[in-house]
Symmetry: C2
Subunit: 250 residues, 2 copies
């Protein structure tokens, strides 16, 4: 398959075979992460590759997804503003901007871009991948487990390996409804505008889960927005705790 066909074929894979990823392949995937575009050449991301069984189980507890611990490979992508802060310090040249939130967002972006590049690369080799946003259910705990120092922050986890399942493609809102020309525009009614998608997603669940679960998009939005993890809501507290300076006007 060519690259775009691979990308159009993306689906989340959560179950993997026992096949290990050999070192040469793994190094290539890491090189892809390294080659990814980054903000102003500052390369403000790092990866923690989690091998330790105990740590994997602890992270799986945070995410409440037990299969996380079983992924052949588990990478946690980190916004890393620490490295350059230390480089400044060693040169006695710290201008006092290393804890700024725009640096934080640069690191956050760098981490995301590298994670997506990894995912595409893995899929191009016949592997599957799963994003774990759920590791962020408890930021402070993840910071503790991975021993993340000040000016670093967990962004996203990626589990990957050779797939042991073939999930169906999950329908998406029509891209035409997500792309605007020149400025943001809204339909008069979203319930009207996305009616077909709502039905399409319902059909998807009917087929996929053999009728076990029938769910519309509109209903899912209600469910997800009601499913609050209190510690996630406090993400800004964890960011401040890691030494970042919000620099709020008031």
């Amino acid at each position: 398959m060519n690259t775009i066909d691979i990308q159009l074929n993306h689906r989340t894979v959560r179950e993997f075979t026992d096949q290990k990823i050999d070192d040469e392949t793994l190094n290539k995937l890491l090189e892809v992460c390294n080659r990814t575009a980054n903000s102003t050449g500052m390369q403000s991301f790092s990866i923690v590759r989690v091998l330790d069984e105990k740590k994997r189980k602890e992270i799986a507890e945070v995410s409440t997804q037990e299969y996380l611990a079983r992924c052949p490979e588990l990478f946690i992508f980190i916004a890393d503003l620490r490295r350059n802060a230390m480089i400044l310090k060693e040169q006695n040249a710290d201008p006092g901007t290393e804890a700024d939130m725009d640096r934080f967002f640069q690191g956050f972006t760098d981490a995301c871009l590298a994670a997506q590049n990894l995912t595409v690369a893995a899929e191009s080799l016949g592997m599957g991948a799963v994003y774990f946003g759920s590791i962020l259910n408890d930021y402070d705990r993840i910071i503790e487990i991975l021993n993340l120092p000040p000016l670093t922050f967990p962004v996203i986890g990626v589990g990957f390996g050779y797939p042991n399942q073939e999930p169906q493609l999950k329908p998406r809102i029509n891209i035409k409804d997500k792309v605007f020309i020149d400025e943001y525009k809204e339909p008069e009614s979203y319930l009207e505008a996305f009616k077909d998608y709502d039905q399409e997603l319902t059909n998807y669940y009917d087929t996929r889960e053999n009728g076990r679960r029938s769910d519309s998009f509109y209903n899912q939005v209600i469910q997800k927005y009601n499913g609050i993890v209190e510690k996630r809501r406090r993400v800004m507290d964890s960011i401040v705790k890691q030494g970042f300076n919000l620099r709020l006007e008031k």
Copy 2:
């Protein structure tokens, strides 16, 4: 080239030929954005495709990169927590969580992943791309230009098209220094650990710019961290202004 070779070959392209991207190709690239993994199925990103010459120039002024206005295509990726907030509202089912910062970060992540997927797809078709983090030099102005409503936020710009230059590969810090096993670890001295990279980057500039500019990584870190854009430091104020609730403990 296969996908990984394309990814390993990534470099920023800033100058493009006049060749337009035909509609079929553009739609395929948009489908790639749409198919990208997203947080909990909520698809919290949007794209503003900027065609209007006046808006392009205004955005180029914010970014201080005049070539931005000349990119054949210019996409601004948006964290979009508005769409689902409206879907909740229409259903009278708003649980009051739609302005939480963890939702913001989900949208931010979705936007980044889609942007990187676009970049890989474009490069796989022989195009080149450039990320514009510099559009964030003035968040409020970008929000104004693109008419971004509450609960949306600009994340990153991507310019792309058929390349009119062949930049050299830019050296990176060794990936081994960015990947940790099981927990974050630091070298005793970064100046010692990255000595070879520092020299490699200096050589790169010597060659690329015919000696016009010679720059080490250590020196670049100093320069970048001194190059403060005051409005960027105030990113959290702009986020609050767009209606997000920081929910700080104090």
